[in-house]
């Protein structure tokens, strides 16, 4: 059972990374969006493995349900999305790859070397009511600020994206 769980975890992790890679490298942007969906699903699965069921649900609802849909709308609304003649990467892909690789490998090396508090795995999962209480008590300010930010983003994007009458 444990072994199966481990296999499942690594499988989900590999799927996540594969989805991420697909997001980054797909020539067709629509396919990249599908890759992103895979990656997001994978992250939600990882959340489940870490016993954060509520967050996994939120991840699915917000990311896959809202943001990804928005992305696909954006892809549909802009031009030349699926043009195969377009290069997918720009000219600095070489050095960008090096830097990204150094960061990824470096971070991984540090993470693997460091001694983490392994016993933390024993903590029981947090019940959802706790989260709700935290949002409305200790994290209230951040929560309200976030709501303001969302309102600002809503109004601002409406303003930016509206059709200008002059043009």
């Amino acid at each position: 059972m444990e072994f199966a769980a481990k296999i499942g975890f690594y499988g989900v992790a590999a799927a996540t990374l594969a989805g991420a890679w697909f997001t980054v490298s797909a020539r067709n942007l629509f396919r990249a969006a599908l890759g992103l969906a895979l990656a997001l699903f994978g992250v939600a699965g990882l959340f489940l493995y870490m016993e954060a069921e509520f967050l996994a649900a939120v991840q699915l609802l917000v990311y896959v349900g809202a943001i990804l849909t928005l992305m696909i709308f954006g892809i549909m609304l802009t031009h030349r999305i699926a043009d195969p003649n377009l290069k997918k990467w720009n000219r600095q892909s070489g050095r960008a790859g090096i830097v990204s690789a150094v960061i990824g490998v470096g971070l991984s090396a540090i993470f693997l070397k460091a001694s983490w508090n392994q016993s933390g795995a024993d903590f029981p999962p947090v019940p959802v009511p706790f989260l709700g209480r935290a949002i409305l008590t200790t994290q209230l300010l951040a929560f309200e600020l976030l709501s303001l930010l969302l309102l600002g983003a809503l109004v601002g994007s409406l303003y930016i994206a509206r059709k200008e009458k002059r043009c």
Binding site: N90, Q92, R95, A96, V99, S100, I103, G106
Partner: protein, 637 residues
């Protein structure tokens, strides 16, 4: 206060007219006329005040320069002498100004003319009312300026411009004498106020004759006495009212006034009086001879004015200020009238050549009649005014000067009667010799002054006659007894006879057309006639003696200027140029080199750094990431 207002009113009028006269247009004379009328009324009021107080002068003075021991004062003085001048100037001046409104009607610079006239009156009244030589000199000079401006009023005519220049320069030669006299008096004579003449003469000592002659020299310039008389005939280029006002009645009389004012100084020095008498006699005699030969109407009157001014000076030289002043007053009336009449004729005929006139009496009755009255007055027919003043002078001359001067005076009287009668006959009688002319009587603004002046020309002399108990003489100089007792008794009779002879000769020659001299004698006298007709060649002599050398000297100094002074200046300029060229090189090569090098290196550095600024967001992001990596390795070390 009233005293100062007399010259001030015309001055105000001048300021108004010169500033906004053009906008006033035909209304411009109203201002100058009313201003002068104010002066006239004030003068009459002063005159009454002085007569009421038996010649006690009115004096208003103010402090000019306050100084330690004695502050420098000057002001206005109205004594019988100056108030007489004042009345002559204002009364005759007002008439002439009224006349000018008609005479100058069509002139484009109408208001300008009245502005100049107002300035003239302001200056002239300052001159006669001054109680101080400096103030008198100021008026004297401004009057000369006005004379210049008015002679060359029609400066489009080259001859008028030249005449103005000539008048200005010639009178300036005379003014120099007056200035020298004033300076000498200021230095040695104590003060410059009028009065205290005995103290002044004593203080001057042996300089007295020099000062007196210099004063007369100034007076000669202004009153056109020989040898400074050359400007007056040319001054006839000006408008005729100007000739009447300035060059017959008032300004040229300023010299006579000056000598009369300084009479005590002359009386203290008989030799100076002899100089005055000689020059006056020369002027009077020669001008009269020239007047006989002239045919230009205004030139005749100009030489006649010269002659009469000489006559006044002769009267003064005989030691009688009263005689000279008396003739000045009567002369102002009849000569102004003569000029205005001549102006009326010229206005009608559009030329002034008497040989082309004739028979004008019928066409211009008022002008003709008044002209004849003035002529008769000047010829010396009793009881018109000229007779009384001329007789006064002749009596004084006969009583105090050598007999020669009396003979000259009588000869001048004879010639005066002759030439003025000739002029009248040629102009107003006989047949018209120019049939193109459509002569007509002048408008009332010109006729009214003629009538008024003719009354004065006829009767002013009576004030100095025995019928009025010589009231003029008593008013002017109560203490002067006059030369009646010492003069030969026959003078009065002879002067009447002489006037009659002159008129008769002219009548015979020009009305009846008979030659006065036998043919042989006329041929013999031809050169003399030529000499006189050319005004004794005095202008030509001056041209040779003074003008040519001065012009040559001027050219010489011009050459010096161009050759030497300019060369030095140019050399300095060239040197500066060379120096600046060196400095420019230094500036361009070295200073600018540093500046430019700094700029170039800054520019290159900017070009290099500029490459980082690609404008691509992802490029910046990459730099940030690479920077984070680099930082990580740096910190780790």
């Amino acid at each position: 206060m009233n005293l100062a207002l007399i010259p001030l009113l015309p001055a105000i009028s001048f300021v108004i007219l010169i500033l906004i006269g053009r906008r006033l247009g035909k209304a411009a004379p109203l201002i100058s006329l009313s201003a002068l009328l104010g002066s006239l009324v004030l003068s009459i009021q002063l005159f009454l005040q002085i007569t009421a107080s038996h010649g006690h002068p009115v004096h208003a003075s103010m402090v000019w320069l306050p100084m330690a021991e004695q502050s420098f004062r000057f002001g206005f003085l109205a004594d019988p002498l100056s108030i007489t001048m004042c009345l002559v100037v204002t009364v005759i001046g007002w008439m002439i100004m009224l006349y000018s409104t008609g005479y100058m009607t069509d002139d484009p610079r109408y208001s300008r003319f009245f502005a100049y006239l107002s300035l003239f009156f302001a200056a002239m009244l300052t001159l006669v009312l001054a109680d101080h030589f400096v103030l008198l000199y100021i008026g004297w000079e401004v009057v000369g300026l006005c004379s210049y401006l008015l002679i060359s009023f029609w400066f489009e005519k080259p001859s008028a411009a030249a005449a103005g220049k000539k008048a200005f320069l010639t009178t300036r030669v005379g003014d120099l004498g007056l200035l020298a006299a004033i300076l000498l008096m200021a230095k040695f004579g104590g003060n410059l106020n009028f009065g205290n003449w005995e103290t002044k003469a004593q203080a001057l000592g042996h300089l007295t004759p020099l000062v007196a002659v210099l004063l007369f020299w100034g007076a000669a310039g202004k009153s056109a006495q020989f040898p400074l008389h050359v400007w007056l005939p040319d001054a006839m280029e000006g408008p005729t009212p100007v000739s009447a006002l300035i060059h017959a009645a008032t300004m040229v009389a300023a010299g006579v006034y000056l000598v009369a004012r300084c009479m005590p100084l002359f009386l203290a020095e008989p030799s100076a009086l002899m100089v005055v008498a000689t020059l006056a006699a020369i002027t009077s005699f020669f001008a009269a001879t020239i007047a006989c030969t002239q045919t230009d109407l205004k030139k005749i009157l100009a030489y006649s004015t010269l002659s009469q001014l000489g006559f006044m000076m002769l009267g003064l030289a005989s030691g009688s200020a009263v005689a000279g002043m008396f003739h000045l007053v009567t002369h102002a009336w009849f000569k102004a009238l003569l000029f205005l009449g001549a102006g009326s004729v010229i206005h009608a005929m559009h030329h002034q050549d008497t040989t082309k006139m004739g028979g004008l009496l019928k066409k211009m009755p008022i002008t003709g009649a008044t002209f004849i009255i003035a002529s008769v007055a000047m010829a010396g027919v009793p009881p018109l005014s000229g007779f009384w003043s001329k007789e006064e002078i002749l009596i004084s001359v006969g009583g105090h000067l050598p007999p020669l001067f009396l003979w000259v005076g009588l000869a001048v009287s004879l010639m005066t009667a002759f030439y003025i009668t000739k002029t009248v006959i040629v102009t107003f009688f006989g047949e018209c010799r120019d049939h193109h002319a459509h002569a007509h009587e002048s408008p009332w603004t010109m006729a009214a002054p003629l009538l008024f002046l003719s009354v004065g020309a006829a009767f002013v002399g009576l004030l100095g006659s025995p019928f009025f108990e010589h009231s003029f003489q008593h008013f002017l100089a109560p203490e002067e007894t006059g030369g009646h007792s010492s003069a030969p008794a026959w003078i009065q009779t002879v002067s009447v006879l002489i006037a009659a002879t002159g008129i008769g000769l002219a009548f015979v020659r020009y009305q009846l057309g008979k030659q006065l001299l036998p043919e042989r004698m006329r041929v013999r006298l031809r050169p003399i006639y030529q000499l006189i007709d050319n005004k004794y060649y005095i202008d030509e002599i001056y041209e040779k003696i003074f003008i040519r050398p001065v012009a040559a000297l001027g050219r010489l100094s011009w050459d010096f200027d161009a050759g030497v002074v300019d060369a030095i200046v140019n050399g300095v300029g060239r040197l500066t140029q060379v120096l600046s060229e060196c400095k420019r090189q230094f500036d361009e090569q070295i200073v600018d080199g540093f500046v430019n090098a700094t700029a170039i290196w800054t520019g290159r550095a900017g070009q290099t750094v500029r490459l980082l600024q690609t404008g691509l967001v992802q490029n910046y992001l990459w730099l940030a990431a690479a920077g984070a990596v680099a930082l990580f390795f740096l910190i780790r070390r």
